[in-house]
């Protein structure tokens, strides 16, 4: 991992002018539907709404395809399309633009997003047909796609983070789509808040990275703290005497200038770090923060963001609750795209992670622990969506294992294949739920193969893929990951080289793969084989959140022969912009109580399922391992320019690799076998027996190891307590202070008033009073009587006389 490819130069950039259209179309769709959706829906029906939304998606996909073709036409080393719209912010050393970039990695992501996004939009036509807030749903879906596209297409951290937050927002809006149900609203809040924790770590990592590019931390001698020396810069002109030059955006001399210094732009960052002559990589590797390697800290902090967004331990708790949202949402956001943002981020920053074996080991370890942990929970869940949710968490763990051990392309490949088969699984479950009249509990299902053949077949194919059987894509991606994990030699665990980490991960991975296969086939057998157990009416209280009983009453009366649409029938393309007949068939709420037979879903749904299942299989072609063909896998070659990291893997002969593939398949077979044994046709009593025997363990696992309860007690309750305390504080202390200040003000005012009234006015009045009193006193002289006057006269003259006598 310490050897960047020596021949790498700076990325060659091709400017194009249409990249902005890719996120623009969904944005316009979101805007249109949010501003006018309700009016359109009222005026022209739901058709208008979904036409807009799907049209935007198709347009976006078309532009993406065009970009792909252009990218494909370029030489592999030159594949970089860029478009900068304008400078968003410029403050000191920090500046970033609203810019889009497509390199092979983000191209792959964009294609996944737009393609699968379009499919899911089509699926939603049928699924959300009876939803009154149809327009809101499509507006949010488009908003989500817009934000996700920003995330993957942003050419700098800022735009990516904008998209990062945006998908969090869209996820929240969509999870609590039926917000009138408190539980669903709570689930949305949970998702958002947990994501926030992740985002906080992400931002901290970003800050640290930014600063570290332009300076150095030195521990102070006296205290265990750090001094930041911005003047000790990173990067130097090749051949310069003093490697430490002043920090600031500089460029290296030479044919292609490389901008050095703190930057948020991915390309500039990559150029700085990957090109050895800049010295940035060395600089970063040697920096230490509080005794830890800087890049390890950065990597782990950034991974905290991935933990939140991609639902890894310990921040995975929101994903199962997110199943409260409609199934298309679960498929799009929580399977195919949003949760993969973390993987994308790690892959995008592969060169940074490559600087720190500790960070990579950490990512891989967490990923595998998550995979294992979630798989165990999935064993006992009854809600089909919950099973898939934990499966998603588990598969994300696999992806992180892939990127963690240095097989970045493998993790990305698993991302791709997972998008297909998980979307197919989720949509299949959606179809099942729809067909069973909003029943989500697998115990109430069964024997649906007869009623919903298309769904059953596509579901089976997707299970085949996820379990890792050959010739379905999951096999290739998962085996690649596990093989690379086994052969990884440069991992470190908390600062210490740990060559044992790779094989340990492999072992756990095999166990997790077995588990995956087991629970996925369990879900298949419980749902589709045996006899139909359900049909007792609405989904009433179960242990999991039922699909909302209030909105979208997709009910039909008992016999809908016309609803079993011929899956081979007409309308083919999943990109059908034309209206489908999803909604008309679902009439008013039928009666409760009598058994409904499940029915196949309309074409808009089944077509999508077929396409996705096909994709799940065909995606395998992209990753056929070199052990089979002696060529690099197509995807690895495609992604190579974006992942300029060479990780050291142990070399083994191909036969060993084939052997390990066999082990993987064996694990899948074992899992399938037991699932079939225990759950096919629902005849076996063993599950019930085992459950009774191990009821304690079963309860713990069934209750998700009480992690949610733990969080509630450790984090939520103290936070609420703090909030209440602060509220009390605000009310009684702060407000008291404010009131006291007011009281003081009033007191002073009163004093002033009193002074004014009594002192100032008093003085004035006193003067008047004295004058008056003096007058009153003196007026007594005016008795009006002659006698008094005469006395006065006499006294006066006497006085004058006497004074004359005395002073003469």
């Amino acid at each position: 991992m310490e050897h960047p490819l020596n021949e790498l130069g700076p990325i060659v950039v091709h400017q194009v002018s249409y990249l902005w259209l890719i996120p623009l179309f969904p944005a316009l769709g979101a805007l249109a539907n949010s501003l006018f959706g309700i009016r359109l829906q009222r005026a022209f029906g739901k058709r208008a709404v979904h036409l807009i939304a799907i049209a935007m998606m198709v347009l976006s996909f078309s532009v993406a395809v065009r970009a792909f073709l252009e990218l494909y036409a370029l030489a592999p080393a030159d594949r970089f399309l860029s478009q900068t719209l304008w400078r968003m912010l410029s403050a000191g050393q920090l500046s970033f633009d609203l810019g889009f970039a497509l390199d092979p990695l983000s191209m792959m992501m964009v294609l996944i997003i737009t393609f699968i996004g379009t499919l899911i939009h089509v699926f939603s036509i049928g699924y959300m047909a009876d939803e009154p807030s149809y327009w809101r749903f499509f507006a949010y879906l488009n908003l989500f796609v817009f934000a996700m596209l920003l995330l993957v297409m942003g050419d700098n951290f800022a735009v990516m983070f904008f998209g990062w937050e945006g998908v969090g927002l869209a996820s929240y809006l969509l999870i609590s789509f039926w917000y009138t149900d408190v539980e669903k609203a709570k689930a949305g809040m949970k998702a958002f808040v947990v994501n926030r924790f992740g985002d906080f770590g992400f931002v901290l990592g970003l800050f640290l990275l930014f600063w570290s590019l332009g300076g150095v931390w030195e521990p102070r001698a006296d205290v265990r703290s750090l001094n930041y020396h911005p003047e000790i810069g990173a990067g130097a002109v090749p051949g310069a005497a003093n490697p430490f030059l002043a920090v600031g955006p500089r460029t290296t001399e030479g044919e292609h200038p490389v901008k050095l210094g703190p930057t948020l732009n991915f390309r500039e960052l990559r150029d700085q770090v990957v090109i050895e002559s800049t010295g940035v990589a060395e600089h970063l590797k040697n920096q230490h923060v509080w005794g830890f390697a800087l890049m390890a800290v950065v990597g782990m902090l950034l991974f905290v963001g991935a933990m939140g967004k991609s639902a890894q331990l310990p921040l995975y708790v929101w994903l199962p609750d997110a199943m409260a949202g409609p199934t298309p949402v679960s498929a799009l956001i929580h399977a195919a795209t949003m949760v993969t943002a973390g993987v994308y981020m790690v892959a995008r920053l592969s060169y940074l992670y490559a600087l720190s074996p500790t960070a990579m080991g950490w990512v891989a370890a967490i990923g595998m622990l998550t995979a294992f942990f979630a798989a165990t929970i999935g064993f006992f869940q009854y809600d089909i969506k919950k099973v898939l949710a934990y499966s998603t968490v588990s598969q994300l763990g696999f992806m992180f294992v892939g990127v963690g051990v240095g097989a970045f392309w493998a993790g990305s490949y698993h991302l791709l294949t997972h998008a297909f088969f998980k979307a197919c699984l989720f949509l299949g479950s959606g179809s099942v739920i729809l067909g069973c009249h909003h029943e989500q509990d697998m115990r109430e299902m069964g024997g649906l193969k007869k009623h919903m053949p298309v769904t059953a077949w596509t579901y089976l194919i997707a299970c085949w893929a996820i379990a890792g059987f050959p010739w379905a894509s999951g096999f290739y991606s998962k085996d690649e990951i596990l093989w690379k994990a086994f052969t990884a030699r440069d991992l470190a665990f908390l600062g210490h080289t740990a060559p044992w980490l790779g094989p340990a991960i492999f072992v756990l991975g095999i166990v997790a793969a077995t588990g995956t296969s087991f629970y996925m086939f369990r879900s298949y057998y419980m749902t589709f084989t045996g006899k139909y157990r359900g049909g007792a009416g609405h989904a009433e209280e179960h242990d999991e959140d039922p699909h909302s009983a209030h909105a979208a009453p997709h009910h039909a009366t008992a016999a809908h022969p016309q609803d079993n649409i011929d899956p081979n029938g007409g309308h083919g393309a999943a990109h059908a912009k034309k209206d489908d007949h999803g909604h008309g068939v679902h009439g008013a709420d039928a009666g409760h109580g009598h058994r409904h037979t499940p029915h196949e879903s309309p074409l808009s749904i089944t077509a999508v399922l077929v396409v996705l299942a096909a994709g799940a299989v065909l995606a395998g072609l992209l990753g056929v391992p070199a052990a089979w063909t002696h060529h690099e896998p197509i995807l690895e070659r495609w992604l190579a320019p974006s992942l300029p990291v060479e990780t050291r893997f142990a070399e083994f002969p191909h036969s060993t690799e084939l052997l390990f593939q066999g082990i993987g398949v064996a694990a899948a077979v074992v899992g399938w076998f037991f699932a079939r044994l225990l759950f096919k046709d629902g005849r076996s009593a063993v599950p019930a027996e085992l459950k009774k025997r191990f009821f304690g363990i079963w309860t713990v696992v069934y209750n998700k190891y009480y992690v949610d309860e733990g969080y509630q007690a450790i984090i939520v309750r103290p936070s609420l307590f703090l909030a209440r305390f602060l509220f009390w504080f605000d009310q009684h202390v702060v407000d008291w202070l404010v009131n006291f200040a007011g009281w003081l003000g009033r007191l002073v005012a009163n004093i002033d008033g009193a002074i004014d009234t009594y002192v100032v006015d008093g003085a004035v009045n006193a003067v008047a009073g004295i004058t008056g009193e003096a007058g009153r006193a003196l007026r007594r002289i005016e008795t009006g009587r002659i006698t008094t006057y005469l006395y006065g006269l006499t006294f006066g003259s006497l006085l004058v006389l006497l004074l004359n006598f005395l002073f003469r």
Binding site: R780, E782, G784, R785, T787, Y791, T794
Partner: protein, 103 residues
């Protein structure tokens, strides 16, 4: 001492003056007050004439005294007319009654 000199006359004048003053100051009846005023004037006259006889040459003193008598008469007339007027207004000639000019 018993032989009459200027001082005797002056002494008489002084006593008359003192008594006249007392009358003016303390009498309640307005007419009595006027009588006191006459006494005062007479005392002054005595002084004047005495000095004229014993000290001064010429007849100024007597002239002065004559005029005093004339004016005293005039003043008595007017004063008593006023007293009468007051009597008509207040129905009494107590000097304390005419205090409408008081505060």
């Amino acid at each position: 001492m018993l032989h009459v000199t200027l001082s005797h006359f002056l002494g008489v004048g002084a006593i008359l003056f003192a008594l006249g003053l007392y009358t003016v100051l303390t009498r309640r009846n307005a007419v009595a007050v006027l009588m006191g005023v006459e006494l005062l004037l007479n005392a002054a006259n005595v002084n004047l004439v005495a000095f004229n006889h014993y000290v001064a040459t010429g007849i100024a003193g007597q002239t002065f005294a004559l005029f005093v008598i004339v004016l005293a008469a005039a003043e008595a007339a007017v004063g008593l007319a006023i007293v009468l007027s007051i009597f008509h207004t207040f129905k009494t000639i107590d000097v304390r009654a005419a205090d409408l000019m008081r505060e």
